[in-house]
């Protein structure tokens, strides 16, 4: 059995990342969860926060998400969320800041929309 799994981080309007990885760490409503290859099929609700992924070539990235789901099946991990920002420098603060900015501009945009 392969020791890697296919991971996809998908936001509502785009695919942020997809590729092979060894470990995925994140936080569900039930608590912290770590997923490795050949994990049992799982469907869970994620809390807003961090997704931490170790890729096959010893790479590492983190993403800030605003809640969503994770589904694991047949070595395919999908992380679905409305909005997400990722950082390749493993810098969660940076990703979080980007996500906050994105949410703020969105709020501003929908605020304008309400007026007319």
């Amino acid at each position: 059995m392969a020791n890697t799994m296919n991971v996809a981080l998908v936001a509502a309007d785009r695919m942020l990342w997809s590729g092979e990885a060894t470990v995925v760490n994140t936080r569900t409503l039930a608590g912290e969860i770590g997923i490795m290859a050949n994990h049992t099929p799982l469907l869970s609700v994620l809390e807003p926060g961090q997704v931490d992924v170790r890729t096959v070539d010893d790479g590492h990235w983190v993403a800030a998400i605003d809640g969503g789901f994770i589904s694991v099946a047949n070595n395919q991990v999908s992380i679905l969320c409305d909005n997400a920002e990722m950082s390749h420098e493993s810098d969660f603060e940076e990703a979080k800041r980007k996500l906050d900015e994105r949410l703020a501009t969105e709020q501003a945009a929908s605020g304008e929309g309400d007026e007319d």
Binding site: V10, A12, L42, G113
Partner: protein
């Protein structure tokens, strides 16, 4: 004769500048379609994963959810009409409104009242001009919808349905009470489906109560859905999944409508450009004729004058 020639030339110039404008709009629409299609494509993975997840939960758990349960009796329905913000797109908005009106008539015949929700300024203009009530409207995004708008629309429609369906639990009902909407027992969406660059057809679907399994892309026959574990529980997962599923369906509708709008606009502007070319050709011919007629007249006047002069001198000799 010379005056009318000048008039024709002025008209040709004005049609020429119209042609330049319509040509530019055609090109803009064409380039935006590509962007709209890309946006639809990049939204596809999310929709696909979500559909798979929802059908997985639906298959492996017996949880009844308010959003999927048919209300016992239905007296009021909501229709979301997706129109454009701007005109100059041929019959795009009017055909989707026509479809919505047909649906509303059908629902009326079934004894249901109809609340109209509108996306796009053209739809708002249509209903407010006729002094018809609009339950709510969203404008300013028709050619490039964002997910945030879809979420806003989705939240509102779900709240209306949760209030109306009457089988939601207390917690959900309390959340829905905060939103200011009239309760309904079903929600329909009318949008324009993008079939191809040449064909876009208005399309009405019932959004709520949800019918799952009719996902856009069904898993292949031989692909067995794995036995999922649900965390914290199937019910909680479904609670969180279904509203997102609804929003993603609305987003899908908005994206399709945006691509259709741009395609319709490109087509309309193309035929406007063709018409302008036709007009220019016609006026050029008329102008040439007028010019030639002027020349002919001048020559015959000169010839007539010369003849008269010759006659006069011959007579005097």
């Amino acid at each position: 004769m010379a005056v009318s020639l000048r008039e024709y030339r002025a008209r040709i110039r004005s049609v020429e500048s119209t042609k330049k404008i319509t040509r530019a709009m055609e090109l803009i629409a064409a380039s935006r379609i590509i962007k709209a299609q890309q946006r639809a494509q990049s939204a596809a993975p999310y929709a696909r994963e979500l559909t798979r997840a929802v059908s997985a939960v639906a298959t492996y758990s017996n949880v009844d959810h308010p959003l999927t349960t048919e209300p016992e009796e239905s007296t009021r329905a909501a229709i979301l009409v997706v129109t454009s913000d701007r005109g100059l797109a041929g019959a795009y908005s009017s055909s989707v409104i026509k479809e919505a009106e047909q649906l509303a008539e059908k629902l009326h015949a079934e004894g249901k009242e109809v609340d109209v929700y509108i996306s796009g300024r053209k739809g708002v203009a249509y209903y407010s001009f006729r002094r018809r009530e609009i339950a709510d409207s969203w404008t300013g995004h028709s050619d490039q919808p964002t997910y945030a708008v879809a979420r806003e629309i989705g939240e509102k429609l779900i709240a209306a349905f949760v209030k109306g369906a009457g089988n939601a639990d207390q917690e959900e009902l309390a959340a829905a009470e905060d939103v200011d909407v009239a309760p309904v027992q079903e929600v329909h969406v009318v949008y324009t489906r993008f079939v191809s660059m040449l064909t876009q057809e208005p399309h009405a679907v019932r959004l709520l109560p949800l019918e799952i399994v009719e996902g856009e892309e069904k898993p292949a026959e031989d692909e067995v859905l794995p036995l999922f574990e649900f965390e914290p529980g199937a019910e909680e997962v479904l609670d969180a999944l279904l509203p997102k599923y609804v929003q993603s369906r609305i987003y899908f509708g908005l994206l399709q409508a945006a691509a259709s709008e741009l395609a319709a606009r490109q087509k309309a502007m193309k035929s406007a450009t063709d018409n302008a070319e036709e007009l220019i050709k016609k006026y050029t011919r008329i102008a040439n004729q007028a010019r030639q007629a002027g020349i002919t007249q001048e020559i015959s006047e000169i010839v007539g004058g010369v003849n008269a002069l010759a006659d006069a001198t011959a007579g005097s000799e």
